[in-house]
């Protein structure tokens, strides 16, 4: 599948990076001084400019013959012996899609943040981080080689940490930030190892760089074994960044960050980096069916488990968090089963509707004055009309109601899963579709319908959010409504234009098993509807029912509520022993006792020695002179000796 | 060996001359000042009124040159309580000694021939005499300063400090002047300098240094007077403010020694000026074989006469200069201390430096001295 790729230099790419970079610098150095106005203009402004540049780049991509890419080489970065890495940007269709998502959705979320963070005193810092995130994310998707991609990878990780712990004065938030960071480190270790594997394999073949095209060109150097190893390691990184089993635990806790952050980073963009990475390295993953299977399985399982957890969560953002994890699981199911285009497609649609969902949730929380517990909401429909309608659209989209964007992408994924032979995973996916419908509409019903459970004193200042927040809602609502139409089922109108657009990069999906697209779609959609119906029954018709169920299946409910005790489990098998080893053995044993002991011992010896020695330092010149004379005596004696012999 | 003996004799002779000049100055102090101030001045103690009988005017020579010295040297030698005996006694002689030994390098004549042997009329024919002068004069400071210090008296100490500061400051000006002169003559040897001043320019003008180094002359004159602490530079003594300055606690012979020092220094300065600027023992138009007058006429003279004429000419010149300084003494008022320092550091020293620069430049351009 190696295509001779023509690379056109294009400064548009540089511009895309330049604008957020300028934003960072501006907000960092002048933001605090020039005040909110300037920041709220510059912060989103640069993003919109970047959006424009990205659009330009994409238009140029459209005009190129398929398979060509835009490149922009800044300068050689690493010249270590024969190993050579360049600081270069490269935009093919895949990157094109990603930059559109990042800059587009990002821009609107920035705009949204202006309203959402309006009352925060660290306005400038927030936008510094946001722009920095955008910059890193763009580096990640525009990187022309694996190493540079890793830089972006780490950059987004850092920003995620900074933004989760944005309100660092709250120790819990700071802790969650660290948790996210550390869990990501685990994944990144895998990423690094994978990268090293690739380097070693390639260098053994005499290839000393990490450019994607070069890797692709020499992909033949990989045996199935090495490919599997590399892929699994890289996938480990992906599970960390994209919150898959077993490393998803950080994402729910990441919800303590400001809601726009959850929307931009932990729903729309960063968490999809893993998917992007796998799609980017599709040629490598294709070499190892095992790895692909692992990816698909992990994806499906994650989707299912996260969904089940989402069912019972009372916290609106937690629900969305788990649904994000679950949706990410879908994407991995997609790419894992070879339907890379489908995966990326879902990345895009998910960026629309999940970003929208978070923004709406943010709007709700904003209106509720920071309240996130759905059990204290309800009947907000008339108070927040715009939020309600847009959120409804997003919900329809995510629960794959036909016609809405989510429907097409999810359908493609499930279809891919089935046709690649993973029937079980397909089943799991379908089941998850039902669960998705259920918990999403549970969210809608609990929030906007039923009788109000809002505390009376909050009731009177319930209000719709300012336009700076509602405009992005509307825009994204439109996007999530019609955004899916770029990838209609084959044969219908323009058909799967999206897949065709990506195909030069990710190749075409080659089904293993034949199946009727329509049938699969009907089944999946049906299950989804079923879930919605169930939610309707439980939360509108007979609101008592959930209680009863929960009481009946108490243990199950508890398990779900406590997220399968995964955190506790990790605590038990990893954190505790780690703490024990570091504290007792390393800290007390080695550090305090051996190292400090040695150092202090030396210090004490020196001090006591010098206490004696300093007696000689009387400060009286003549004493020194006396010693000096003794020295002279010695020297002259030596010369006498020389003269005599 | 003979040279040594003759040198010793000449040295004694020179010192004798110097001291006598000092005495002459002492007399001039009295009578000359009286003359200038239109007083009678010293006129007592004429022995048996002989001069009166002979109808001579009473020049007061006796009481100046005989009575005063006797009185001085018969006075009690007083040492104040708490004073440093040793230094108090030593100081006057430390002051006087260097001046004395300086006389010996002054050439007071050309060569003289006795019984087929020729001797230079310079006690110590030193080839670095100019440096020697500076050295001895420099040492001269200690006498005064120590005298002031050892007297255990505030006035005296002040006088001593003043004297020291003044002499150190003016030594610099003096040194600069002498350097310029040395550059001009291209030699450190006084006798050589004097020899170079023989002969004439344009057939009539004696080749005296004054015509070459007028500025140096003024510098050396001023600095010299200051060195000898005479009016207008007599701040160390400054009767009106310090009573007698460093000499305050001295009496009798020691004070005489101090006064003698000043006077001798003045004589010394006069000799130096003569040597440097007025052709030393050179008599205008007189050569070894006699006078060569500007007209071209030649008056032959015996070599011995020529030599003696030189010595006499030297003495006459010195006396004239001494009298000139006496005039200055009775003409100018005393400087204020800051004026003194200003004159020394801000006028004389820069002038001296400039003089050196110009001289050196001219010498280099003209190629070779004189």
């Amino acid at each position: 599948m190696v295509t001779t790729v023509v690379n056109l230099p294009s400064s548009a790419l540089a511009l895309i990076l330049l604008f957020p970079a300028l934003g960072v610098l501006f907000n960092l150095f002048f933001g605090a001084r020039l005040g909110r106005r300037a920041v709220s203009i510059v912060g989103p402004g640069v993003m919109f400019l970047a959006f424009a540049a990205a659009t330009w780049a994409l238009v140029r991509l459209f005009m190129l013959p398929p398979g060509d890419a835009l490149t922009f080489t800044l300068w050689p970065w690493i010249e270590a012996g024969r190993f050579h890495v360049e600081l270069a940007l490269r935009a093919d269709t895949l990157s094109g899609v990603m930059i559109m998502i990042v800059t587009g959705v990002g821009a609107f979320i920035h705009l949204y943040s202006v309203g959402y963070m309006a009352h925060d005193e660290d306005f400038a810092r927030f936008f510094t981080y946001m722009n920095l995130f955008a910059l890193s994310m763009l580096i990640l998707v525009l990187a022309s080689n694996l190493l540079m991609m890793f830089v972006g990878w780490e950059g987004v990780g850092l920003c995620s940490y900074l933004l989760i712990a944005f309100w660092y004065t709250n120790p819990q938030f700071a802790y969650n930030g660290r948790k996210a960071f550390i869990v990501n480190r685990v994944g990144d270790a895998g990423f690094i190892l994978g990268m090293l594997t690739i380097i070693s394999v390639l260098s053994r073949g005499g290839v000393w760089t990490l450019d994607f095209p070069t890797i692709q060109a020499h992909v033949a150097l990989f045996t199935t074994g090495t490919a599997t190893a590399a892929c699994l390691l890289l996938f480990m990184g992906a599970t960390g960044k994209s919150a898959q089993i077993p490393l998803y635990v950080w994402l729910p806790d990441a919800m303590v960050g400001p809601t726009p952050v959850s929307a931009l980073i932990h729903a729309a963009t960063m968490v999809t980096a893993g998917v992007y990475m796998i799609a980017r390295l599709n040629f490598l993953f294709m070499l190892s069916p095992d790895a692909m299977t692992v990816v698909a399985t992990v994806g499906a399982l994650t989707a299912f488990f996260a969904g089940t957890i989402a069912i019972v969560q009372p916290d609106i953002k937690k629900v969305l968090a788990y649904s994000t994890i679950s949706q990410l699981g879908y994407m991995f199911l997609g790419v894992g089963s070879g339907a890379f285009a489908a995966g990326i497609f879902h990345v895009m649609t998910h960026a629309f509707f999940k970003g929208l969902l978070f923004l709406c949730a943010g709007s709700v929380i904003h209106a509720m004055g920071g309240e996130q517990d759905m059990t204290k909401m309800g009947a907000l429909r008339k108070h927040l009309p715009i939020t309600f309608w847009t959120m409804l659209i997003a919900t329809l989209a995510i629960s794959a109601v036909p016609g809405f964007s989510g429907y097409f992408s999810k359908d493609l994924i499930l279809e891919g899963a089935y046709e690649s032979g993973h029937v079980w995973l397909w089943g799991l996916g379908v089941l998850t579709a039902g669960i998705t419908g259920f918990y999403m509409f549970r969210l809608i019903f609990m929030t906007f319908f039923g009788e109000s459970r809002v505390e009376p004193e909050k009731l009177h200042h319930l209000h719709e959010s300012p336009p700076s927040m509602t405009i992005p809602l509307v825009v994204l609502a439109i996007a999530s409504a019609i955004g899916g139409w770029v990838g209609l089922p084959k044969g219908l109108l323009w058909g799967d234009a999206f897949a065709r657009f990506l195909s030069p990069v990710v190749g075409n999906f080659r089904p293993g098993v034949e199946a009727s697209t329509l049938g699969l779609s009907v089944v999946a959609t049906g299950v989804g509807m079923l879930g919605i119906l169930l939610a309707y029954v439980c939360y509108i018709r007979m609101p008592g029912l959930p209680m009863i169920v929960a009481w009946r299946a108490k243990s199950l409910y508890q398990v779900l509520l406590d997220k399968y005790y995964i955190d506790e489990f990790y605590n038990l098998i990893i954190t505790r022993p780690l703490f024990f080893v570091s504290n007792v053995i390393l800290n007390r044993g080695i550090d305090r006792f051996m190292i400090d002991g040695t150092v202090n011992g030396i210090g004490a010896t020196v001090r006591s020695g010098s206490r004696l020695a300093r007696r000689s330092e009387t400060g009286n010149v003549q004493h020194y002179a006396f010693v000096y004379v003794l020295g002279v005596l010695g020297v002259v004696a030596y010369y006498l000796y020389l003269v005599r012999h | 060996m003979a040279e040594l003996i003759v040198g010793a004799i000449e040295a004694v002779l020179m010192i004798f001359i110097g001291l006598n000049l000092a005495v002459f100055l002492l007399y001039f102090e009295r009578k000359g000042s009286a003359l200038i101030q239109d007083r009678v001045g010293a006129n007592r103690a004429s022995i048996t009124g002989l001069g009166r009988k002979l109808g001579l005017p009473n020049l007061g020579i006796i009481n100046t040159l005989v009575a005063d010295p006797i009185k001085l040297f018969t006075k009690e030698d007083f040492v104040p309580a708490g004073a440093d005996h040793f230094l108090h006694t030593l100081a006057p002689f430390i002051a006087l000694f260097p001046v004395m030994i300086t006389f010996v390098v002054i050439p007071f004549g050309d060569t003289i021939t006795f019984g087929g042997r020729t001797f230079g009329l310079q006690a110590a024919p030193l080839n670095a005499a100019a440096l020697y002068l500076l050295a001895t004069i420099g040492i001269g400071v200690y006498g005064v300063s120590l005298g002031g210090w050892a007297s255990n008296n505030r006035w005296a100490l002040l006088g001593g400090i003043r004297a020291t500061a003044q002499m150190i400051s003016y030594e610099i000006a003096m040194g600069l002047a002498i350097i310029a002169i040395v550059i001009t003559y291209g030699s450190l040897d006084l006798q050589a300098m004097v020899r170079m001043q023989g002969g004439v320019w344009f057939g009539w003008l004696p080749r005296w240094g004054i015509f070459v180094q007028p500025l140096a002359f003024i510098l050396l004159l001023t600095a010299g007077i200051a060195e000898s602490k005479r009016v207008p530079f007599d701040l160390p003594e400054g009767e009106s403010e310090l009573i007698l300055g460093y000499m305050l606690e001295y009496s009798g012979g020691k004070q005489a020694a101090f006064m003698l020092t000043d006077l001798a220094e003045q004589a010394l300065v006069a000799m130096l000026l003569v040597t440097f600027f007025f052709g030393g023992w050179q008599v205008p138009w007189l050569y070894r074989d006699g006078f060569h007058l500007p007209g071209g006429a030649i008056v032959a003279l015996a070599p011995l006469l020529v030599s003696i004429a030189g010595v006499v000419a030297f003495l006459i010149k010195v006396v004239i200069l001494c009298s000139f300084m006496g005039l200055i003494r009775w003409t100018l008022p005393r400087f204020r201390y800051d004026q003194l320092m200003k004159l020394g550091w801000k006028i004389l020293v820069p002038l001296g430096l400039a003089n050196i620069l110009i001289t050196a430049f001219v010498v280099v351009v003209a190629g070779g001295a004189h």
């Binding site: 009286n620 010149v621 003549q622 004379v629 | -």
Partner: protein, 101 residues
């Protein structure tokens, strides 16, 4: 007829030793300073003697420089002594032991 070199050297060595002795045993900084000057002169003497025996001017030139340096050193050193005396009202070396633990 010149003085034998070893005499001069011995003299210079003796004066030097005396200087050292003074530096070690006197407590008055000024006198210590004078002792330093003694040592300098002893060395100067050695320079001159050797130079004249070797027939080179270098010895004298070096002495010339030593004098210059001695002048500078005296100026600065005495200034320091004065300022010390202003501050501490003493010139005794064993009262000036501030540079100490």
């Amino acid at each position: 007829m010149m003085v034998p070199l070893p005499y001069l050297m011995a003299l210079s060595g003796a004066i030097f030793a005396i200087g050292v002795l003074g530096f070690l045993t006197r407590r008055n900084i000024l006198v210590m300073f004078m002792s330093v000057e003694l040592m300098l002169n002893a060395v100067n003497l050695a320079f001159i003697a050797l130079g004249s025996r070797l027939g080179t001017m270098d010895g004298q030139v070096i002495v010339f420089f030593v004098m210059t340096v001695a002048a500078a050193e005296a100026a600065v050193g005495l200034a320091i002594i004065i300022s010390i005396f202003r501050g501490r009202e003493t010139v005794h070396a064993d009262d000036l032991t501030l540079l100490r633990w």
